[in-house]
Amino acid sequence: MVIKTENLTKTYGRSRGIRDVGLSVEEGEVFGFLGPNGAGKTTTIRVLLDFLHPTSGRAEVFGLDTVKDSVRIRANVGNLPGEFALEDRLTGEQLLRFFARLRGVKDLGYAYELAERLGADLSRPMRRLSRGNKQKIGLVQAMFHRPPLLILDEPTGGLDPLVQEEFLKIVRELRGEGRTVFFSSHVLSEVERVCDRVGIIRDGELVDVEPTDALINKSFRHVRLVFDEPVDPRPFRALEGVRSFRAEGPELSFTLYGDLDRMVKLAARHTLVNMEYERPSLEEIFLTYYGGSGRNNDG
């Protein structure tokens, strides 16, 4: 286990913080940590890096206590903070050389390779770089020392789509090398593309952890049935788990949270001309978690 937290709680000031967060991240996986702004993603990361001390509970990284062994942990972690600044007067290269000295890294070859792939300009002072270019330097400094664990907080913020694409490719390569990536984001589409598992945090509480596929597959489906003639909609409407039901002539459309088999058997009593059965986007699943009562609306 690379990351493990038990009943991790952090309350501070007027902010909500996190409450009883218990998560496990396995070696070699890309773990997506999803939640809207203020949900507790950054707080969790900051506790893992010992920037914040937990109010209660505990957290371990590589089996080491995040408070007692913070330096040893950070020696093996590449970190991209969600909001950060770099020394204005220094160039990317000067910064990387400084960080390399702090980490005992002699060869900056991989840093140059990453910079080239992401299009990061290492020759200009930070004050002359746009937000996106600073973000690229931030990504390079997180990855250049080839850490076994990467903790990335909103890593694609400010990057243009082509660079985002290249970055996600790098993340997949890192997974291929057996490295672990803790990927905090509120951009669901990118999480869906690279993450093996997803943890969803809301109002400071971890509400679910699922393999990304399972999270998508277990949830509701958008169904559209077109028959050769109008059918009695009432049996369909009465099916368990049917919501947002609409009937227009021979066409029925609804959201199905329940058993697929019953719906198919009911439809088979009629002559079916067309059937669409769409999985929801991760965005929709996400909204389901964050809407209404806030409880998992699945099934």
Binding site: R46, V71, L102, A142
Partner: protein
């Protein structure tokens, strides 16, 4: 994939100090240059009025004692006394203390406000090294600033034929080091404790002026004479006239180091905000 390495990296403190010193070179040159030029102007003014010094001495006797105490003026008879009254005994410690105050207030609280602390502490640096490294870097940079002030004081004196003792000039600038670092240490402690740089500047700034006033008042009001012992500026004294009191030098330096040491557990215990 590389296996996690569980040993702490070495040499991080030296790398941190070297980095911080480099970051302060430009600021140090500006501080040293401006104060040094001011000091050079005072030297030049002495050269210009040297022959009228006896008349100035008579004029000085008519000055209120409060004014003389406030500016640390004891006499104008020698170049050292003149430089003390015009610069070294009051303006130099008051102004130059703000170099370590500003630098060390920025070392933690300032870096936290700017957002640079998160990236820096993402590296395997223990928090105590950030405190000690910042202190050492500013202490070294301050020596550089003092060297510039010393050179810009003594060289014009030599060029203008003012008989200013080189030894006393060195003692005068060196004496500024523990006094300024004391207020820098206070700024570092506040920077470690609070999340706001403005507080880490304000607290030692107010303390500095408070101690200056205590030192002045103690010389004016007999009943309050003993409060001078509470002021670091009393221990700084008038080194360009009297030389360095090494006991006072060591005591103030120890107090500065103690403030830095106190900042370590304070910073270790507190959270770092974005």
């Amino acid at each position: 994939m590389d296996e996690p390495v569980y040993k702490k990296p070495s040499g991080t403190l030296a790398a941190l100090v070297w980095h911080e010193v480099r970051m302060r070179v430009r600021g140090g040159i500006i501080w040293g240059g401006l104060l040094g030029l001011y000091s050079a102007m005072i030297v030049a003014s002495y050269a210009a009025v040297e022959e009228q010094i006896p008349q100035f001495e008579q004029l000085l006797e008519a000055y209120p004692q409060a004014i003389l105490e406030a500016f640390g003026i004891t006499s104008l008879a020698t170049p050292e006394a003149y430089m003390g009254g015009q610069f070294f005994n009051w303006l130099a410690p008051l102004a130059l203390s703000f170099f370590p105050i500003l630098a060390l207030a920025g070392a933690i609280a300032g870096a936290e406000e700017r957002g640079t602390l998160d990236v820096l502490l993402g590296n395997p640096i223990p928090r105590w090294q950030l405190v000690v490294g910042g202190f050492l870097a500013v202490a070294i940079s301050l020596l550089g600033v003092l060297a510039i002030v010393g050179v810009l004081t003594w060289v014009p004196a030599a060029l203008l034929g003012v008989e200013l003792s080189a030894g006393r000039t060195i003692e005068a600038v060196l004496s500024l080091w523990p006094a300024c670092m004391f207020f820098g240490g206070m700024a570092l402690l506040c920077s470690a404790a609070f999340h706001r740089r403005a507080l880490a500047v304000a607290v030692p700034g107010v303390l500095l002026f408070g101690m200056y006033l205590m030192n002045v008042i103690s010389g004016l009001v007999e009943e309050l004479e003993s409060i001078k012992y509470l002021s670091v500026l009393y221990y700084y004294g008038a080194p360009i006239e009297n030389g360095i009191d090494w006991a006072h030098f060591a005591g103030v330096a120890a107090a500065a180091v103690a403030l830095m040491a106190l900042a370590i557990p304070v910073f270790r215990r507190r959270d770092i905000y974005t």
